[in-house]
Point group: D2
Chain length 192, copies 4
């Protein structure tokens, strides 16, 4: 148990999704940071699908969904790991974000993209515009994983040290914002 | 039958979707333009859901999906009517776009947004960045419908003349690009 | 003197700039918030022009420029007031941002747009993508001023109470982030 | 003389601008395409600076500016070559675009970015949102030049064949749109 809970959310349900090992590596690395608790959430385990109703509008959400919503509410910040489809984030990831509301508010989001030549930079930028819509913000640093199919396979990164070095500043920045705001949120300053 | 086929695609499956009448009005107006054939496609009728497999990867897509893909292939251009959820397009609309590939290529997209104060301008801009990813382009003009819940109800717009005037330049521009490129596409200049 | 220094930066030098009174009103309102010191910076007073050299690369920057850089370094956060030209922020504002570097880092930016039907929402979104490039972040709330030429003249807003109500949540949010991070920055946690 | 006039516009005036050789190479390659006339425009030669007045509002624009405006009016399409500063296009390039109006209308823009890890992809996306604001559109393909300082020096690209192959589909696509629309524009269909 850490003083910070920073879940990792993966953004795709597509068959043969080559960037899932990136999310697994992010979770494993983040779990080793002092004072950090984390867990990887995979949309394949969440029956959210297309946005028909938001979680708080559901009479009795399925247990997996209810637990997901409760975990996001408890979180101090998030890492989103997203592939890039057609120059944007997957619809699945947008649906997942849209299903919740206050759970994201006043919390920092760290973004990790995955793709070919772009490394998911365009999915990252799309998310930078969406996150303020749920009352959160994205930390300035982001990590694009270029040539993801060559860099990662089902065993993880071919060069773990390279990706550890790229991720460290992102984790540092996320934790810095998460710690600074955790105190301010619990100090109970009434939001406007 | 017209010389141009310009389908209208609506972007949401959400319960109580207040912008569906905008899509119905767009279809009705577009149907009256000389030489234009149109039809409204509603994602509620298409079992596409989250992106697991693209249509050309499915062994036997359901009939509604196969017909949708064939219609998009025949089209000369498109009107997307999109609500704005959390400063972005619905995930449902992104999934729908991602399910197809060459069907969108070298064709113009006209964008109609719907929302409150923004009129869906942010969903429109999100789509401007995604459409190039499938090889299409967006016509410069776009129509945001601000205060959509006050302007439209299930019977359509409260002031049809106002919205007819707003949509006319969009239709004109879409048809101009669609006609110019229809000839060039069928002239068979080999794409790179 | 307040415990927070939150300068207002206006984004245009164009003749007949109708949104300058918005910046003046923002400054006047912000000055009345308890514990807040502010000042309006106008690019007409800053000989920055096109980006040839950043301030720290200049041998001897002009006095106005040196004072501007020092003020931005001392600031705890910023309000940018920007008109929208051709669906984007003015080049002048981008040049001004690009002239500085570490002065913007780990600080919150509040965005106020001005325009016609868009209220500058597209300039706002453009800035949401740029600010992370200098190591800052934008607070989730933003205020678009639609129909600015009808709402404001050289005497200020025609309906001050309306705009006071719109700006209050923005100021509240900016101050909340600025206070929370001011402590964390001065606690000296080494950046990565 | 070709049947298509496709000028190249470079986006920066910064000292030591490492991506200027990219623009020179683009011009040299484009000049060899059958039927294409081109010319490189450098903002250092154009006293446009910050946007104070648009060209058509100037009583007597300087000769270089008047010639530039006339050339853009005659053009059938454009290539913009842009570095990326702080995740966006240079203010100089935005000012240049904002100085003109109808000269850009209903014409295709091809985008070439230059940067480090991003190859200017974020400057490219910023321009995709701005070009519709002047009534133009961007062709779907774009070319990011990653690690520009390693790939190009003042003599041009270290591996010309590599960059020739990357640029060819972009030129092909730009010419395809430019030819298709040149006819439609001169057929005089009245714009809305």
């Amino acid at each position: 148990m850490g003083d910070l809970f920073l879940p990792v959310i993966y953004g795709s349900v597509r068959e043969g999704r080559v960037s899932f090992p990136v999310a697994e590596f992010v979770e494993a690395e983040l779990a080793q940071r002092p004072g950090v608790e984390t867990r990887l959430y995979d949309p394949r385990d969440l029956p959210l699908g297309n946005l028909v109703r938001r979680v708080h509008e559901m009479a009795t959400p399925e247990r997996a969904v209810a637990e997901f919503a409760a975990a996001m509410e408890r979180a101090d910040g998030f890492v989103l790991v997203t592939p890039e489809y057609n120059y944007g984030y997957p619809g699945t990831l947008k649906n997942l974000i849209d299903h919740l509301t206050h759970q994201w508010r006043r919390k920092p989001f760290a973004l990790v993209g995955a793709g070919g030549i772009s490394g998911g930079l365009r999915a990252i930028d799309g998310l930078r515009l969406v996150i303020p819509g749920v009352g959160g913000f994205t930390v300035p640093i982001a990590v694009p994983v270029q040539s993801v199919a060559a860099e990662f396979d089902s065993n993880g990164p071919k060069d773990p040290e390279k990706w550890r070095k790229r991720l460290t500043p992102l984790f540092h920045e996320l934790e810095w914002y998460a710690r600074a705001l955790q105190g301010a949120r619990s100090a109970g300053s009434a939001p406007p």
